[in-house]
């Protein structure tokens, strides 16, 4: 029986147990991650970090959560009441639902029932995770919009633009894995990595042959979860708290929960896609190291490596500027990704067709380099010269003031013929024009 069939055969009590355990897993991981982050960042900054509440300060985040529950719940007067109320809910639900397709472990027996350590194995599992990560941004945008305050609005807009920009890089980096694994199901992708050999070594993972995809995924997952150095939506030095500035009490806690659950989700997703899920490297799928429960341990260990990367980045890198960040997403990650997909498909086809790979790759690389060199030869777009448009403090362009006032208007001479009125007209023109040149012009006319 395949993984999907075994999971579809689960009795309802087992499903309920799994649902509750999965939910608790998300909450516990959040509490633990907050503690771990504070401790590790503290170590990086030569200070102890939270160490008073419980052993090693482990209960610190639980205490913080309880404290938040008993804080005053403020609804700003300008807020859109309904949207302000449901935004944290919209943010939280997709974060947890994305967990459901993660293949945490292998085949085990729970109370005599054969099953896998996974909630569901849908044929479109990868799409479920992508959909959930996209839906989560609705919570953020609506929270910022409904707060009725400028800082949350700016934070929410930045967040939306950031998530959709990096969603593309993220989605395209997954294409490489799908091409190699022939499936969108999370369980099948892990199975495809089992016994995957490289240079005669069972690496049980895709991340070495698909290294470009892996690097792009890791970059975009940091952008997708709004974490440092891409934490522009909640840049505290620019936007106070970003989209959750106006939130307090448990509503604020829900946003925090969603952010950390999302971090765990993208890390677990990356483990599943590139690091071989729960498979232990260098041994076969039937080895004792790869039994169902041990696979769960390896899966969590690999996930924590990536979660540590999140903390490490936060502790070491300064925040990006917004235009730099958007440039990285649109001008680097997207084209590199598309070229990599074409190259991957081409190499796979050539290899299955039995072409000599070496010479083909050599000439292909020359052609690509030639195209890149050609693209540099294209002339830059001409920027219109705005040197002659003076701008005052008000920000509005003003018309040029050095206009030549004509000494005589032919029409007026014909009508009046009197030198007196002509002189008066010239004097008025000289007074009204502020530039010295026009005054000189009218003086010349008088002389």
């Amino acid at each position: 029986m395949t993984r999907a069939e075994v999971l579809a055969d689960d009795p309802i009590w087992l499903i309920l147990i799994k649902v509750v355990v999965l939910f608790a897993f998300g909450v516990v991981m959040t509490l633990f991650m907050i503690w771990l982050e504070r401790r590790v960042v503290a170590r990086m900054q030569h200070r102890p970090g939270p160490n008073r509440v419980g052993p090693f300060g482990l209960l610190q985040s639980l205490a913080d959560g309880l404290k938040l529950a008993f804080k005053e719940d403020i609804m700003p007067a300008k807020a859109d009441k309904v949207v302000y109320f449901i935004a944290p809910v919209i943010s939280t639900i997709p974060a947890f639902v994305a967990f459901s397709v993660m293949p945490f472990g292998g085949r085990v027996s729970i109370f005599g029932e054969q099953t896998y350590l996974q909630l569901v194995d849908l044929p479109v599992g990868v799409l479920v995770v992508l959909a959930c990560s996209s839906l989560g941004v609705y919570g953020i945008v609506l929270a910022g919009w409904s707060s009725g305050s400028p800082y949350p609005l700016l934070g929410a807009l930045r967040s939306a633009a950031q998530v959709i920009s990096y969603e593309i890089a993220m989605g395209l980096s997954i294409v490489g894995v799908i091409i190699t694994a022939h499936s969108l199901s999370t369980g099948d992708i892990v199975n495809a990595q089992a016994n995957f050999e490289l240079w005669g070594l069972k690496v049980n993972s895709f991340f070495i042959p698909l290294l470009p995809s892996f690097l792009i995924y890791v970059t975009s997952m940091v952008g997708e979860t709004n974490r440092a150095p891409f934490d522009l939506p909640e840049a505290e030095s620019e936007l106070v708290g970003g989209f959750h500035t106006e939130y307090s009490s448990l509503k604020f806690a829900l946003f925090f929960l969603a952010e950390y659950v999302n971090m765990v989700t993208v890390s677990a997703f990356s483990t599943m896609l590139f690091l071989g899920g729960g498979l232990f490297p260098f041994v076969g799928q039937d080895s004792v190291l790869n039994n169902g429960w041990l696979q769960f341990v390896w899966f969590i260990a690999k996930t924590f490596v990536l979660l540590f990367l999140f903390i490490w980045l936060r502790g070491t890198l300064p925040r990006y500027r917004y235009d730099q960040f958007m440039r990285l997403g649109w001008k680097v990650l997207v084209p590199v990704n598309l070229s990599w997909i074409v190259a991957l498909v081409a190499v796979r086809q050539l290899r299955s067709a039995g072409w000599p790979l070496g010479p083909t790759l050599f000439f292909g690389a020359i052609a690509v380099l030639g195209l890149i060199a050609l693209s540099f030869a294209l002339p830059d777009r001409e920027v219109p010269d705005d040197e002659y448009v003076p701008v005052t403090g008000g920000g509005y362009p003003i018309p040029p003031l050095d206009l030549e006032v004509p000494t005589e208007t032919p029409k007026r001479r014909r009508q009046t013929r009197g030198s007196r009125s002509r002189r008066r007209a010239a004097v008025t023109a000289g007074q009204s024009a502020s530039a010295s040149q026009s005054q000189e012009g009218s003086n010349d006319g008088n002389v």
Partner: protein, 139 residues
């Protein structure tokens, strides 16, 4: 290769495509997470203290008088975000088209390679155009 007619004629295999019963655990998790979130949001105003004053209910702007806002919801939105959203739709649809191709890439063979190359070239042309027109510059 899947034939649409044969798939529709047969009852879906357990856990296979079209088996809606396999979505049940996902919906249960959705309900549980939703119940937790709604509970938190509803219980928050009830257990906390309630000592409101006008300054607390104003929008937070680092202590200065809040700037005027519309009656409900946020203020005006810079137009650059609109452009980003439009570009996202373009590339997201490209991404969605790449997924079915990726699943069947090896089965489609050289035909698939040529087709996807043409497809990416078409989108790449639009991409180059947007780049040259400055649509990707954030200013």
């Amino acid at each position: 290769m899947y034939e649409t007619a044969t798939i529709l004629a047969q009852p879906p295999a357990p856990g296979g495509p079209g088996d809606l019963k396999s979505y049940l655990p996902l919906i249960l998790l959705f309900v549980l997470a939703g119940a937790f979130a709604v509970f938190s949001v509803v219980v928050a105003p009830l257990v906390g203290p309630r000592r409101y004053n006008k300054a607390k209910l104003d929008g937070y702007e680092c202590g200065i008088e809040p700037s005027p806002q519309p009656v409900v919801g946020g203020g005006r939105v810079p137009v650059a975000y609109y452009l980003t959203a439009m570009l996202f739709i373009l590339f997201d649809i490209e991404m969605v088209f790449l997924y079915p191709f990726a699943v069947t890439a090896d089965a489609l063979g050289v035909f698939g390679l040529v087709e996807i190359f043409l497809f990416i070239a078409t989108v790449g042309f639009a991409y180059a155009y947007v780049w040259r027109r400055g649509g990707l510059d954030w200013s």
